[in-house]
Structures are given as structure tokens and as C-alpha cells.
């Protein structure tokens, strides 16, 4: 059963009421200077009286633009992405744009299909947050797409707008701070390889290690993928090597939280035996029980910047691709301090211990009371 179409007040109704032509009403509404001032006023008044607003759909068909931007992101339940969307939406809504959303769940298929769908719907721009922007299929897609703005992941070889944060500088600031406290062996837990942001965080770590003459032991660098689980594994590994690091920088806060907890389980004190810094400044990091130091991601600022960039592009037509890097801030909380002088002798996690730990200590919602 189809929607019985709602009766709509059209521009023709308004014109008829005023005994004018629709085009005159249109011109008046769009602020064209050809309309006599007095006529315009009558028209405006009539529109208000009849509660007339032009149909965005009809406009879209006629003009080929929809005053809509499509946003693609991996997970709308992740507050970091939520903050970006919020910053973006606040700017766009103020300019009359609506936000179309797609949560792609890390699936390349959903990403491509959502991008195609949105393009087909004539969105005026596409915002891709931490998406797998690359590959032949993607490059073909870009041809058919409206303007694209990227964040978190750059598209290698493609000249697209990018708005990001200073990941490289963030890592360096963290290591400078740790080095000033006296740390020499600092571990690093990385993010997904496909993420240019994660890559920059690693690069910043490496450059700081070199410039500050820290211990360049490659065993101090562990892979990770931004999940708690990968954080557990990396922490277990880093804290089990013979000469364990006195500090660890993780490429995001989630993995850093895992480090904190593994450390506690190994009876290390924080920050005496181990200092920990993360990336992003997610909500939990500010909890006193966690008190995780971190390099803040300016998420809502990124959203705002993307919005402003889009408005600029819409207003000024084609212009060269932009490349913006927003500053980060080191947020110092209780998880860092000078390394302890004494060498503590510590029990290790065996593999069995780790598994038992993973199963029992974190109680997700699956463990419920009937």
C-alpha cells in the first residue's frame, strides 16, 4: 500500500492566490533583484500565511543538488566518531544541510555500496571517516562521486581533501614528556596498518626515539589493531620481555587501558613500575580509577573543520585539494611518572594465565544474572 501523498502547498498555489506567475514567486523567494520590492513583500507575507516552503525534493531534481552530505564511518557507536559527526552536523545544519549516515562496520563491501548509494542519491559531498580509501574499485568510484573529504585515513595517490590531526607531533610530545621524566626504554603498541593516522603515530614514536637517543630496541614495538584484545596481547608481550620497558605508548586509549589492567594483574604499580600513555582521550580515560594520560584527538574540531571546508567548497567552486592538520594536546593524568629506581622482580603471565585472565577479569554483558 502506497503512501497517500500528503496534500502539498506548491509555489503555484501561492502564485494563484496573489494572481502572479509562479516564476515571480520563485524569483522573489530566491532573492533575485528583478522583483519589485512591494511585490516581494506581498509574496513573502503570503508564503508565511499559507505556510509555504519550497519542496527540497523538487529542488533537488531541478538543481542536481540536495543540500545533504553523506557520512561514512566504521561504527557510529564509537564516541570518537560520534564527536566528529556532532561537530560536522552542527556546522552543516546551521547552513541548511542535512547529514546522511552510514555505519560500515569495517566492511569494505558496505563502504563501497554505501558510497555508491549516497552518490546516486545526489548528496553534495561525501565524508569518509577512517574508511578503506584505496584500491582500483575505489578509484573508479571517485570519478562518479561528489566532492570527498577524508579523515583518519589518507588515500595514497589520490588528490582528495584531508582533514586530520597531528599524530606525528602527538607521539613526539608524549615521548618528550616521558624522556624528561627519565624514561629510556619506551614501548609502543601500534594501530591498523591501513590507517595513515596509526602510521603517523608510529613514525612520530620512531623519530622521537632517535632524536631523544632513547633505546631503539625493535622488540619494544608491538603491533595492534585498536581493540582491547590486541592491547592485552601486546601488553602481555611487552611486559614479559627480559628487560621490560618502563613506559608504554599505545596508539589508542583502548589498548592503553588494556595495558593498565594487565600491569595491575602483574602486580606492577602505575606509574612507579610502568607509565602509560594513550591516544584519543576517550571518555573513560578521565575517570579517576583509570586516570590515563593521553594525546587528545580534537574530534569535534575535526568535524567542524570538515564542515567549514565543505561550505567553502560549495561557495567557491573547484579549488585545489586541501590538507589540514589540527594540533593535539598532551593530557597528563596519574598514569605517568618517573621510573622507579629499584628493579622490581615480578612474576610473569604464562599463556594459561593470560587466557584465564581474558576470560574472567573483564565482565562483558554476556555474564548476566537471569
Amino acid at each position: 500500500m502506497r503512501n497517500p501523498r500528503k496534500p502539498q502547498v506548491t509555489i503555484i498555489d501561492v502564485a494563484r492566490e496573489l494572481k502572479l506567475a509562479p516564476s515571480t514567486v520563485s524569483n522573489a523567494l530566491r532573492g533575485k533583484p528583478v522583483v519589485a520590492e512591494e511585490t516581494r513583500k506581498r509574496i513573502l507575507a503570503q508564503c508565511r500565511a499559507m505556510n509555504y516552503v519550497a519542496s527540497p525534493v523538487a529542488r533537488a531534481l531541478r538543481e542536481g543538488r540536495t543540500f545533504t552530505v553523506g557520512v561514512l564511518l566504521p561504527d557510529i557507536a564509537n564516541p570518537i566518531f560520534g564527536d566528529i559527526v556532532k561537530g560536522l552536523d552542527s556546522v552543516m545544519a546551521a547552513s541548511g544541510f542535512a547529514t546522511l549516515l552510514a555505519s560500515t562496520e569495517g566492511s569494505r563491501e558496505r563502504f563501497l555500496s554505501a558510497a555508491r548509494t549516497f552518490a546516486k542519491r545526489d548528496v553534495d559531498a561525501l565524508v569518509m571517516i577512517s574508511q578503506p580509501v584505496g584500491g582500483e574499485e575505489f578509484e573508479r568510484l571517485v570519478e562518479l562521486c561528489p566532492p570527498i573529504v577524508l579523515t583518519h585515513r589518507k588515500a595514497a595517490g589520490l588528490d582528495l581533501d584531508y582533514i586530520g590531526m597531528d599524530n606525528h607531533g602527538g607521539s613526539m610530545a608524549a615521548l618528550q614528556h616521558l624522556a624528561a621524566l627519565g624514561h629510556r626504554r619506551i614501548g609502543f603498541i601500534g594501530g591498523p596498518e591501513q590507517s595513515s593516522a596509526a602510521q603517523e603515530r608510529l613514525d612520530g614514536y620512531r623519530q622521537a626515539v632517535q632524536e631523544l637517543s632513547l633505546d631503539p630496541d625493535p622488540a619494544l614495538v608491538c603491533p595492534g589493531d585498536y581493540t582491547l584484545m590486541s592491547g592485552f596481547k601486546a601488553a602481555h608481550h611487552l611486559l614479559s620481555i627480559k628487560k621490560r620497558p618502563t613506559a608504554i605508548l599505545a596508539a589508542n586509549d583502548l589498548m592503553a587501558c588494556a595495558v593498565l589492567d594487565v600491569a595491575v594483574q602483574m602486580e606492577l604499580t602505575i606509574p612507579g613500575d610502568l607509565s602509560v600513555i594513550g591516544f584519543d582521550d576517550i571518555f573513560v580515560s578521565s575517570f579517576p580509577q583509570i586516570a590515563l594520560s593521553t594525546i587528545r584527538q580534537p574530534a569535534s574540531e575535526i568535524g567542524n573543520a570538515i564542515g567549514r571546508r565543505l561550505i567553502e567548497r560549495f561557495d567557491s567552486g573547484n579549488c585545489p585539494a586541501c590538507h589540514v592538520v589540527l594540533p593535539t594536546q598532551l593530557v597528563v593524568r596519574a598514569s605517568i611518572g618517573p621510573p622507579a629506581r629499584r628493579k622490581s622482580t615480578l612474576g610473569r603471565f604464562s599463556e594459561q594465565d593470560l587466557n584465564a585472565y581474558l576470560q574472567n577479569r573483564w565482565k562483558p554483558t554476556s555474564q548476566v544474572h537471569p
Copy 2:
């Protein structure tokens, strides 16, 4: 400068190529049985070859529907809402619907204006999550709106679809559990008055207190508004009364977290001196350092249910408004236990202490390192 319209493959192009009429192509594509099977096959092949897909915008103008749902919520950076949207989007996307989003930031103005904007854009439905649904202005708006589905807040007097969770039963389950552990004086921290969900949580508490013959002292019920700050204040108040409660149920996890921390600051042990339960099961609650017991909100299930309801409405035309209540689960973590036998004598927070505490203990991002 206007968008130079992208060249588009239209149904006419396809028809011309095949020497058919556009209407035949349309009929074939829409699966109408009037088209000869062989013709249909040729048409489908040609469409694939020319990469033709019907324009959603033109369709929208013609049919009066857009295959889009508008979602209004207070804050897209709040993961609970994010989870609902995620659940909703996964259902709708699978059926070819896109999700239009508006983060209203608790502003009544933005709510009404976003709703009007979306309705004007011919969305097929409006989903309102925890929105101020009420008042004369709203009721007038409803007339002009497409189907509406509510969650978290019911609209008094209006017969709209509502999909929610068993808040009342959740509170009762929590109190039953606490009572079984031996608690008799149980405090409650409420949510916003306008929220029907918050009201139900309070009602459940009251009914449980009565049915279980717990201490009905009205001083045990404190107002709150879901923010950390209100949780601090309520906790401070509840834990400072002469005969303080041995357990506290907060209307959401955020306030419960505040209770946990205030308790620690007052040198109460958890759960020996105080048991704490929250509502929602937000991410932090599962952290070992927090280990907050809670009544889980089935957020993504709510999103799914809303999606299924919408599809159902679209398919079957007008039907009476639905009223769905999803079950909750009590998630038991370390924050609850039997009340301690001994009476601990404890220092109190003075007002000054509270203020100093609020300023220093939680370190938000404003306290940053240059």
C-alpha cells in the same frame, strides 16, 4: 558557482538503445508482470551494461517517498544512542533505506526545526530518541509528519508507536537482588522528570521498596539528571545523611560512576560499605577498575525493533500504534555484595571538600599539558 550537473544515464537512454518505450523499461525494472519475459531479460542486461540505476531523487518527486528515515536524538556522541542508531541503520540499510541524522543537543528548538526539516524533505518516517515529545507545538507538528516511532520518552496523550525497555522491571530486579543480599536501606538517584523511562525506573524502585518491605524513607530518593555532576551531588547527599543507605541504585551508569567515586573519596569500601547499581551498561561499567553492576539497556535491540516496526508499517499500511517493551538484564559485577555487619564510622564531605573534589579529582581535557 553551481554544480555542473553530472551527466546521467536515464531510463530514456536505456529505452532508446533498445528501441523501446521508457515506460516498458520502467515496468520491467519494477517487476510488473505485463512485460514479456524475453524483453525483460534484454532490458536487465542493457541496464547492467550501461550501468543504469534509477534516480532516487526523481523517484522521490514522482512517488512522494524517499526511502529515508529521519532520526532525532539528543547527542550522537553518546554511545547508547549510537548503539540504537547502529541497530536501526543495519535493518534499514538492508531494506534500501538511508538514515538522516540530527543531533538536537537537548534543545527544543533544534528538535522542532529538525523534525520540520525532515518532514519537508519527505522522509518516510521519523524516529525520536529521548526527545521532548509534547506540547501544543509538537502536536500540531505531528499532523504534518510521516509515521513517528518514539523511544525513551512517550508522548502523553498521543497515540504514537513506542519501542522501549522494561525500566520498571529493571529497577525491581535490581532491588530484589540487593534485598536478597540483605540490604534494607537502598537509595535512589533519579533521571530527568520529562523522561518517561526515568519515571518508570523510579516507579519500579518504589514498587519494589513496598513489595519487599524495604525502608521507605523518602530521604533515600534523590533527584538527578543523568549527568556526572548531578550524580556527585546526589551521592554526596545520600552518603551524608545520618543513617546512610547500604546500597544505591542510580537511574543511569554515569551517575552510578559518580557514586562509586564519591564513596571511595569518603573512604567507604565497595561493596562492603556500599553497593552500587546503575542503568544502561555503558562501556566503562565493564572495566575491572570500575566493575559497576547495572541493568543493561538493550540499545541495539531497540534500534533493530524500531527498524522492523518501520518496515512492517511501510508494508502493511496504516495499523494501530504499537507499544513494545524489550526485556532488560541485571549484570552483576563487583560493585555489589552483602552489607557489612560492622558499623563503620566515617568522616563526612563538607561542602568545601565537595567543591575541591569536583575541581581536582576528575581531570577533564581542559587540564592539559602545553
